[in-house]
């Protein structure tokens, strides 16, 4: 029961700060709301007994990634200012995405109702370090590798785009 | 003059890691950590004043307790920041030193102006003004920082004097060949 109260608290906190990320005009305030949002997500992970994920969430995203965001915002002196009005396609796609989200959540809720009895007996993957590591390097090895390659490609792309190559016209 | 190009030696690997140098530096500071402190605990311990120190200018008396200044005003004249102000006066007839020389009626040194140059000491023909060892002057008002005649004599005290000018004058007067 008490974990339910905590769940609602964290959920409300996460949603509120997530909204603040989008709605705040000030870029730094926006990044800080993102930080709070990530901490809220880490709180939800803790309620799910996924302590490792929670710690990694705080360590990697809240501790390093958002700090880098802030660093970039400060370095480029990015101002919030007025934003352009959304295009029509943006409205349409936004509507579709929201509808899909509602459907998804509803289906989860529906199936969750049915399996409530069994949920307690399932051991969550991230509960113990050993379990987590084994799953990561056996069952989920392929997704991990794919995500790793995606990140590598993104990193190379950034280097190619940002670095000026001189005397290498033939590459283009 | 020939220019000698000194080849800068490339750093060795150990030097490039900084570590031996850092350890050396730590060793130096550790040695200093255990050395006794060199600080003078000022108000309790006083610094040793070197000979010839130019402190606060003072007026001195001769060994017989007579004031030596004859208010010739040379110091007032030479004083670069015009810190000295002398009002010359006669010595009263009752005094032992009467009729011989003049004496200052008032003698003020404004310590807010004084630059401790020592020209007054150098110029004084009577060796009556000395820059002595006192180095600290403080006060709450401007008026307090002006040393008057009493204060100057109090600060100066008596210095050994071989001339004993007043005694010679008196002897000369008694023998009838004054002036």
């Amino acid at each position: 029961m008490s974990s339910d109260i905590f769940f609602y608290l964290f959920a409300a906190f996460t949603t509120g700060t997530a909204l603040a990320v989008v709605l705040t005009k000030n870029t730094v305030a926006s990044a800080l709301s993102l930080l709070l949002c990530l901490v809220g997500v880490a709180g939800v992970f803790i309620l799910l007994d996924a302590f490792l994920l929670a710690a990694l969430m705080v360590f990697v995203y809240a501790g390093a990634v958002v700090a880098l965001f802030l660093f970039i915002i400060m370095l480029l002196d990015a101002q919030g200012g007025d934003r352009k009005p959304f295009k029509k396609t943006a409205y349409v796609s936004g509507g579709i995405a929201f509808a899909l989200l509602v459907v998804g959540v509803l289906s989860f809720w529906k199936s969750g109702q049915q399996t409530t009895g069994e949920l307690g007996s399932i051991v969550p993957v991230g509960s113990t370090l050993k379990n987590y590591g084994e799953q990561l390097f056996t069952t989920y090895l392929l997704p991990v590798q794919i995500v790793g390659f995606l990140l590598l490609i993104a990193m190379l792309g950034v280097i190619v785009l940002s670095k000026k190559f001189e005397g290498l016209e033939d590459i283009k | 003059m020939a220019v000698i190009q000194v080849e800068r030696k490339p750093l060795t690997f150990a030097e490039r890691t900084y570590i031996p140098q850092i350890i050396g530096g730590l060793w130096v500071t550790l040695k200093h950590f255990f050395q006794p402190t060199v600080t003078l605990q000022y108000p309790e311990q006083r610094p040793e004043i070197p000979k010839g120190y130019r402190g606060v200018p003072t007026l001195v008396k001769d060994p017989n307790g007579r004031e030596k200044c004859v208010s010739c005003q040379l110091c007032e004249f030479v004083c670069p920041p015009k810190a000295i102000r002398i009002t010359p006066g006669e010595i009263s007839a009752e005094s032992d030193n009467a009729h011989v020389e003049k004496g200052p009626q008032a003698f003020d040194i404004d310590m807010l102006r004084c630059i401790y140059c020592g020209l007054c000491q150098e110029v004084c023909p009577e060796e009556a003004i000395f820059l002595q060892n006192q180095f600290s002057m403080s006060g709450y008002t401007r008026a307090e920082m002006v040393n008057n005649k009493e204060r100057l004599y109090e600060l100066g005290g008596t210095l050994p004097d071989e001339h004993l000018k007043w005694d010679k004058k008196k002897t000369a007067e008694e023998h009838g060949n004054a002036h």
Binding site: L52, A64, L129 | G25, L26
Partner: protein, 404 residues
């Protein structure tokens, strides 16, 4: 005679322990500021603050009475204890101005954000050990507020949030110097976090044998260094401190720790000679003192983690673990194995080690000049990071070969 304590409800005990830890951290962090001044003074052949004494009117206060005890009072005066009290009083009561040009909300938030991670991380740092009877077996238990499986990760996670205090302070101050300090700090802390995390991995590779229960607990890290010397054999490797068989790891961790706590020679965020006072240029009085305390709290936590991983935790010497010491002591003191006595001995040894580490921090600060900013980045990314990766690979291969 201490048993009533163990009959208290768990929550009361935890709250009491938390209060005890905070009551320990706060004055110690404050005393570190005085220690810093004293160490700096002694290194420079000066006596340091030794004048302040409680005034005659203070005879009614504890400090005024203590200051007038013969021998003890003058000694404390020489050590600057009353100066510390005077500083504390000044920081608490002096006017606390908020400049007109700052972003008020974030400006006031920043020192609070600085204190939170500094005091939160203490929860998962074990400070000692005691014998407890669990299920009829006498086993060694850590003295810790929260004995979590991911202790080290939790420390890293929460203390990595400390950077936001510096960034927020720098940004909200709306001043060039503070801003530059904040930007530098954010880049520096992110750069060195990587090397720091990689450097501790070998330590946990040693611990987590294949087939065993996986753990990132700091208590287990000390347990690994708990063995007794039985002559030259593989078994005596067990009691060795981490620093002996992982010197490179310990070195990288220590360097990264200096950078993470913004201490000289990496005090880019402050850089008095370049940035006035860096990120806390616009701060004064109580808010500034919170930054100051947070810096020392970070130092205490950082050195505690370093001691747990590489310097044997609460074991007094290599190959002489706390349990051996307690066995030896119980020849003289009948209640030596009592949890409370043993715990206090362990905490005493551990705190002593932490203090010597803090002295090392200060010693380095008053020895070395500051790195230039590009040198800091060069060292972090091009030297420490490759070194820590190579170190990790070396130990991975080495441990795999040893355990085959």
């Amino acid at each position: 005679m201490f048993d009533f304590y163990f009959h208290l409800p768990l929550i009361v005990r935890l709250v009491l322990q938390a209060i005890a830890v905070i009551l320990f951290m706060f004055p110690v962090a404050a005393a570190c500021s005085m220690a810093e001044r004293k160490v700096c003074a002694w290194i420079q052949n000066r006596p340091g603050p030794n004048r302040t004494i409680a005034p005659i009117g203070g005879l009614l206060t504890p400090l005024g009475i203590v200051g007038r005890i013969p021998f003890l009072g003058p000694f404390l005066q020489q050590m600057g204890i009353f100066q510390l009290a005077a500083d504390g009083g000044k920081f608490t009561f002096k006017e606390d101005p908020v400049p007109a040009h700052v972003n008020k909300f974030y400006f006031i938030l920043a020192p609070i954000v600085a204190m939170i991670p500094a005091l939160t991380t203490v929860a998962v740092v074990p400070v000692g050990a005691y014998y407890a009877v669990v299920n009829g077996q006498t086993i060694l238990q850590p003295i810790v507020l929260a004995n979590v499986d991911i202790g080290l990760l939790a420390v890293f996670a929460v203390s990595s949030l400390g950077v936001y205090a510096v960034i927020l302070a720098g940004w909200a101050s709306n001043s060039k110097y503070a801003f530059l300090g904040g930007v530098r700090a954010s880049a520096q802390l992110v750069s060195y976090e990587l090397a720091m995390t990689l450097s501790v991995l070998p330590s946990f590779l040693w611990m987590n044998k294949p087939g065993g229960q996986g753990t990132l607990s700091l208590f287990d890290a000390v347990q690994m260094q708990n063995g007794v010397w039985h002559g030259f054999s593989m078994a005596s490797l067990h009691g060795m401190w981490g620093v002996f068989y992982m010197p490179i790891s310990a070195f990288i961790f220590l360097v990264a720790l200096f950078a993470e706590t913004n201490r000289a020679p990496f005090d880019m965020a402050e850089a008095e000679s370049e940035l006035v006072a860096g990120f806390h240029t616009e701060y004064g009085a109580f808010k500034w003192s919170l930054f100051f305390l947070a810096e020392y709290c970070h130092m205490i936590i950082g050195s505690a983690v370093c001691i747990l991983l590489f310097f044997g935790g609460w074991n007094i010497l290599p190959w002489i673990p706390l349990t051996t010491l307690i066995d030896w002591l119980s020849h003289f003191i009948p209640f030596a194995a009592h949890p409370l006595f043993m715990g206090l001995v362990g905490i005493g040894i551990f705190v002593g080690k932490v203090f010597s580490f803090i002295f090392f921090f200060m010693w380095v600060r008053w020895t070395l000049p500051r790195f230039r900013y590009d040198q800091v980045m060069h060292l972090g990314w091009k030297k420490l990071l490759p070194l820590s990766i190579a170190n990790l690979i070396f130990y991975t291969l080495g441990i795999a070969l040893l355990q085959k």
